[in-house]
């Protein structure tokens, strides 16, 4: 079994993750981590719902940013599918989606200021890149026969809109609804860098030790995501979309002079700005590479590889909780609740909470990434395991798990895991903003020193790293002959 391609790949990835351990700082540094955790759990059990006004604003803003951003991204992504056969467009989409929403927001906050547009664009741009890719994949899978049955001289665009798009429409809709959930999470965490969404209130409550307020914010957020099916009705979507822009809030006015300065001066590399020309550029770049990019890349890779394996382990342990092949409705329900909580809490919020509890090291980041991503993959694998038909008299208990289910769900499990590799890396880079020395740490540092040129170089490097991992993951998936439908992956 271990000699198969999947077995070898698994062993290799576990080996790499183990090799990462000695280089990583995984200590718990707070004096009394469990007491803090206790207080947090107590806060979750005694949520303070009295600050209704603030709660309401936090949630309408979070929803409004998500709806507007995702809608803009979906429309732009859909329009991009009409030209997606162009290599240039594909590269452009890969590039804009490789930069995390938080990085986009950091960029826009510098030039547009704290304005709703900063948050909306930060969501819309990377989402447009993702939508363009996945929409194209879905539309390409449409039955080609209706397009052939249309008259020969039909224009390509009409053929596209009358045959391919309607064929794919139900899948496009499901996928967009799913992405809205992701958009809600993105919108929530934009608050951590100053926009007025959930994260903003969460950070404020946390820093003041108001754990009951933290509890209220988190519980309402879970409720919102868990009940999405009830309130996200196709007929209500136009209403939400029309209302969303009015709930974004005012923000500060945009100073266009700042925008111009940002684009024409701030992000131009310093040596070029000061007329040192290309000779000055080389030492400048070398400095960034040696002192920021390389340590950042090294730590990003360490954290990503450890988190990836931890995610896999957790997903494999978690999926029996919701699988119908194991008895017990009580356990399944609690399993569902656990997995919903794990997957609807953005890894950024999890990491933020764990960092508060355990102190700064890579451990909170690994656990946060593993919990969130393991929750997602565990959910998908659990649902997939329900479709495995077991023969009568199949073994029960651990033997059923080890001999009947895991071997069957292992290939799709690996596919999901490799698909999330790039996503985990995107997140890993971002967690640097919380103080773990991944690439985001250096980006945030450069921004605080008002060296936007450096920040841009580092963001570009992060993007390239993501694109590289994405390509590698695709190669590995092809080598392992793994296939998954795009609708249930991203």
């Amino acid at each position: 079994m271990l000699r198969s391609r999947t077995g070898l790949t698994t062993l290799a990835f576990i080996g790499v993750a183990l090799a990462c351990l000695p280089f990583s700082d995984l200590a718990i540094t707070t004096l009394n981590p469990w007491q803090e955790l206790e207080r947090l759990l107590y806060g979750l059990l005694t949520p303070d719902l009295t600050a209704t006004n603030e709660l309401f604003t936090a949630f309408t803003r979070t929803l409004a940013y998500a709806f507007t951003g995702v809608a803009l991204g979906a429309v732009a992504g859909f329009l991009l599918t009409t030209v997606f056969s162009s290599r240039l467009v594909r590269a452009f989409c890969a590039f804009i989606r490789s930069i995390h929403e938080i990085f986009w927001a950091l960029i826009f906050l510098q030039c547009l200021g704290i304005h709703p547009l900063s948050g909306v664009l930060a969501i819309a741009i990377p989402f447009a890149g993702i939508f363009a890719k996945v929409y194209s994949e879905i539309i390409d899978e449409a039955d080609p026969l209706p397009a052939r049955a249309a008259p020969k001289n039909t224009r390509r665009l009409l053929r596209y809109f009358f045959t391919q798009v309607p064929e794919a429409w139900p899948h496009l809709r499901t996928y967009t609804a799913y992405r809205l959930e992701c958009g809600l999470r993105s919108s929530a965490i934009l608050g951590f860098i100053g926009l007025p969404t959930l994260g903003f209130h969460l950070e404020a409550a946390f820093s003041q030790g108001y754990y009951s307020q933290v509890g209220a914010l988190l519980l309402v957020f879970y409720l919102l995501i868990a009940t999405m099916r009830l309130w996200l009705r196709p007929r209500l979507v136009p209403v939400y979309l029309a209302a969303a822009p009015f709930f974004l809030g005012e923000g500060m006015p945009i100073i266009w002079g700042n925008v111009t300065r940002f684009v024409t001066q701030d992000i131009v590399p310093q040596p070029l700005r000061e007329g040192e020309g290309w000779e000055g550029l080389q030492p400048w770049l070398t400095d960034i590479l040696a002192n920021q990019a390389l340590p950042g890349i090294w730590n990003t890779l360490l954290l990503t590889q450890m988190a990836l394996v931890a995610t896999g382990v957790l997903a494999l342990l978690a999926f029996p909780l919701i699988s119908t092949h194991f008895a017990g409705p009580v356990r399944r329900t609690s399993g569902h609740v656990l997995l919903v909580i794990a997957r609807s809490t953005p890894e950024y919020i999890l990491a933020y909470i764990l960092l508060q509890l355990w102190g700064p090291s890579m451990l909170p980041a690994v656990v946060a990434l593993a919990l969130h991503n393991g929750g997602i993959i565990g959910h998908l694998v659990g649902r997939m395991s329900d479709e495995v038909p077991l023969r009568q008299g199949a073994p029960t208990g651990f033997n059923r798990y080890a001999w009947e289910l895991v071997p069957r769900v292992y290939p799709p499990f690996l596919a999901f895991l490799f698909y999330r590799w790039e996503i985990i890396m995107r997140e890993t880079a971002i967690l640097g903003i919380l103080g773990i020395t991944t690439l985001g740490f250096y980006v945030e540092g450069a921004i605080q020193e008002i060296r936007f040129d450096r920040a841009m170089v580092l963001i570009l490097i992060t993007a390239l790293l993501n694109i590289g991992v994405d390509a590698l993951s695709r190669r590995i998936r092809a080598w392992l002959r793994l296939k998954t439908r795009p609708t249930c992956e991203a």
């Binding site: 026969l145 209706p146 049955a149 008259p151 020969k152 039909t154 809109f161 009358f162 064929e167």
Partner: protein
């Protein structure tokens, strides 16, 4: 005058030849029925003929090529997608306009689908779906019809009504039919296909049901 002529046409599937080589010429005003056992190569031949045919050809494949998520109106409207501007057609995609709606309603009434204009094609029965594809071909008003078993899911009288409508709208056609009586009734020339080759090519008037039996 030949409206469609092919020479040494052949097709392979998985390295195995399934059709031809065969040559065929179709004169304007000729209604051809393709007959033969299933798997003989009729569908492949029609599909290849469609590749060679000119732009005003209507094609009705055996699997119909309907868009299940769109209404009957839209599926029929597709027959004239090449005649209207992009903007006009996109308008009709969002809000069916009066003129095409009236024209299509007329065709549907004739085919006994009058009450299905707004129904999604995916919710129709097999026979209704087939008539929707027929309506699309009728609405297209091309110069040549290539149809693959257009009435296989319809019962006797309805099948005849649909065949009559098709032959009235298309004086020139190649239609694959497994029903020998229909083939004799609605064609001037019969081509029998056997193992990918033309085994028989005669005017319909000279043939009887018994002459076609060896093909099956």
């Amino acid at each position: 005058m030949a409206i469609l002529a092919v020479n040494d046409l052949s097709a392979s599937y998985g390295g195995e030849r399934v059709l031809g080589p065969l040559s065929l010429s179709l004169a304007s005003g000729e209604r051809v029925a393709l007959v033969g056992r299933s798997g003989a190569g009729k569908s492949t031949l029609l599909s290849l003929l469609y590749d060679e045919a000119d732009a005003s050809t209507a094609f009705m494949p055996q699997d119909l090529g309907l868009v299940d998520t769109l209404s009957v109106f839209h599926n029929v409207y597709m027959g004239q997608l090449d005649r209207h501007s992009v903007l006009y057609s996109l308008c009709n995609l969002l809000f069916p306009l009066k003129k095409p709606r009236r024209e299509i309603q007329g065709i549907l009434d004739e085919l006994g689908l009058g009450d299905k204009l707004r129904e999604p094609a995916g919710e129709l029965s097999g026979g209704q779906r087939q008539r929707t594809a027929v309506a699309r071909a009728l609405y297209q008003q091309g110069s040549l019809l290539l149809a693959d078993e257009p009435v296989s899911a319809l019962d006797g009288p309805l099948a005849r009504r649909v065949m009559a409508a098709l032959s009235q709208a298309y004086p020139t056609s190649v239609i694959a039919l497994h029903d020998v009586d229909l083939a004799l009734a609605y064609s001037d020339r019969i081509i029998g296909i056997q193992d990918g080759h033309i085994a028989l090519d005669e005017p319909s008037g000279r043939l009887t049901t018994a002459d076609l039996q060896p093909l099956y």
